[in-house]
């Protein structure tokens, strides 16, 4: 298996935009391509990550449309869908094509145009990943599922609403230094939890989760150029190695899990990625986790192996997950503040880690970052991908 490197990374500003889906994807790709000097005709394939083209945008054949928008004929093109983990899945597919020796250079571009519909419809759209007959028809939504999960998890491990708020405050703070983040707004414990005004400032969405525990609904795209590591030096002096790729699935129906607080797929995917990269969680310098809801950042930080079960919130309390802490988590702002255009997220996580490992992360730079980790959480934890990246 050949080594594969990231030679370019970029994303659009995540926001509410007026761009149609294809334009958004093309713009994301252009941003990534602008990150490296490359003759575009050497791009052999384009892998697009997207979850909602059909439901949100009434479109299909999106990957071919993106190739057209970029004028990259006759490059190969496919769209990969894996719910909110579509981004990481697309990167894995591109990785495999290069690792196999079938391709040398592949463009991966993930994006979502979610604000084509209203808030209720976008919540319904995301809910289409639940089980159609065991969950969806009963009106379950992702926030409600996350609320149930949070309640259980908090009770089991003594996590308080303040811990959840700490995740939000940290990630909002981080996003202040990320010009591409959707939400650039500092928040305070007082304002979102302790003041009487908190009932309006931060209303309950799905108890115990409040507005600031949930990611916003964003449009956006993010892209990477992947290249056979042996050729990466031709294009950049700072290639970032994809050292480990892990993935695992779990039951579709959440209530069929023996212990719903046990995110098995997170554990298995992370273990696989670490094993392949030949590093352990303790060697990771910076991580991007899938904090679609604040509780998930805490739970994932444990299941990925960074902290023992039930200790994630304590590490958070101690400031270990802040920039400057032992293991900065979500220096980009995470899904919470960077935003979560579902198809883009897994790729945006890798864009952030690439910048961190290159030392290009500006004011949010994690010092001496050599090994990075991403976790992209599909479904409600039923399809999870993990990546380990290394500075070269």
């Amino acid at each position: 298996m050949r080594d594969v490197a990231i030679i370019a990374a970029g994303q659009t500003k995540f926001a509410r935009t007026e761009w149609p889906l294809i334009d958004l994807l093309v713009e994301g790709a252009r941003t990534a391509l602008a990150d490296v000097e490359i003759d575009e005709s050497i791009i052999q394939a384009v892998v697009v990550a997207n979850m909602g083209a059909g439901i949100l945008n009434h479109q299909s054949g999106v990957a071919s449309a993106v190739v057209d928008g970029l004028g990259l004929f006759p490059a190969h093109a496919e769209l990969v869908e894996n719910g909110p983990a579509s981004g990481a899945s697309a990167v894995k597919m591109a990785f495999l094509g290069i690792a196999a020796g079938y391709y040398d250079v592949v463009l991966v571009i993930g994006g979502e145009k979610m604000r084509a519909v209203n808030g209720w419809e976008s919540t319904d759209f995301v809910a289409t990943l639940t089980h159609p007959f065991a969950e969806y028809i009963y009106g379950v939504t992702l926030p409600s599922m996350a609320g149930l999960f949070a309640r259980l998890y908090m009770e089991k491990y003594g996590i308080t609403p303040e811990h959840l708020a700490m995740v939000a405050i940290k990630n909002h703070n981080n996003a202040m230094f990320n010009p591409e983040a959707h939400v650039q707004q500092r928040i305070t414990m007082e304002g979102i939890l302790h003041r009487p005004e908190a009932v309006v400032n931060n209303p309950i969405v799905a108890d115990p989760l409040r507005m600031f525990d949930c990611c916003p609904v964003s449009d956006g795209a993010a892209g990477l150029v992947l290249c056979a590591a042996e050729r990466a030096g031709q294009f950049t002096d700072k290639p970032v190695l994809i050292a480990g790729v892990g993935q695992a699935t779990d039951t579709h129906v959440v209530h069929e899990r023996e212990d719903p607080t046990d995110l098995k797929a997170v554990t298995l995917a992370s273990e696989q990625a670490f094993k392949m990269a030949r590093v352990g969680p303790d060697q990771v310098d910076v991580a991007e986790l899938h904090d679609a809801f604040t509780i998930l950042e805490i739970a994932e930080s444990e299941h990925a192996g960074f902290f023992p079960k039930g200790e994630g919130h304590k590490a958070l309390e101690r400031g270990e997950t802040q920039i400057g802490g032992k293991l900065p988590i979500n220096p980009s702002g995470g899904l919470k503040a960077r935003g979560h255009p579902v198809g883009a997220t897994g790729i945006a996580q890798l864009v952030e880690i690439t910048k961190q490992l290159r030392g290009d992360a500006g004011q949010r730079q994690v010092k001496k970052a050599k090994t990075g980790f991403t976790l992209n959480f599909g479904g409600f934890g039923n399809n999870v991908l993990a990546f380990v990246l290394k500075k070269t």
Partner: protein, 225 residues
């Protein structure tokens, strides 16, 4: 005032003022909500003007209507109108307006927020309802919405009552009503803030700045910079 002007000008009713309040937002920053003065209207019009071309989410119609309503207030052509402004760190972050139809009935006109992510609009709309119910002591407020977003937020989420036979003065569509009962049922989760506001704080809102029009249009329209 000459005789013709007296004919053209609706008679105003003496109304109790809206006492300013301080609302601490999620960011920990304070927003002062206070009544605007007629003299401040030109500044408010300046903020609204660029929005009258933004089709998205009906900013154009809301902007244009609010523009004409405030101008109507300034030029003495609207009866018993008022406007509340939200000011944060000396910057205008939102405004709402309304008027009294009669002793018992309030009219909700419009709500605009210029700062995103801190629920400025929710606080201001609540302040407007608070004014009508708790200070003007009205029985109910007629509310309509230009945009689907507004309709979902107020009519549906607050379960406003239909007033099938009341054509709202904003375009003649059927009115919805926020009643005293509905108001008090939602007050705990809707209406917050502290009074009194210190002289010093209030003074800081007097000569507020207004948002940059380009940035504003970018924000509300979702157009890329």
């Amino acid at each position: 005032m000459n005789e013709l002007e007296a004919t053209l000008r609706p008679k105003e009713t003496e109304q109790p003022p809206y006492p300013p309040k301080r609302v601490v937002l999620a960011s920990g920053e304070s927003m002062i909500v206070r009544q605007a003065t007629r003299q401040e209207v030109p500044k408010l019009l300046e903020v609204l003007e660029p929005l009258i071309w933004v089709e998205r989410d009906y900013y154009d119609i809301v902007g244009a209507r609010m523009f004409s309503e405030l101008l109507g207030w300034k030029r003495f052509r609207v009866k018993d109108e008022y406007c509340l402004v939200g000011v944060m760190n000396g910057m205008l972050v939102g405004l709402v307006n309304g008027r009294s139809l009669s002793r018992n009935i309030g009219i909700s006109l419009h709500t605009m927020a210029f700062h995103r992510g801190l629920r400025v609009g929710a606080h201001l709309f609540a302040a407007k309802m608070e004014y009508h119910i708790e200070y003007l002591n009205q029985r109910e407020i007629y509310v309509v919405a230009e945009s689907p977003i507004g309709f979902r937020r107020w009519m549906i989420e607050y379960a406003l009552e239909e007033r099938r036979h009341v054509a709202h003065e904003l375009g003649g569509v059927m009115s919805y009503a926020l009643t005293r009962d509905l108001y008090f049922a939602s007050k705990d989760r809707l209406v917050v803030g502290e009074r009194p506001v210190s002289e010093e704080m209030l003074a800081s809102t007097l000569d507020f700045e207004i948002p940059d029009p380009d940035l504003l249009v970018t924000q509300v329209s979702g157009r890329a910079k």
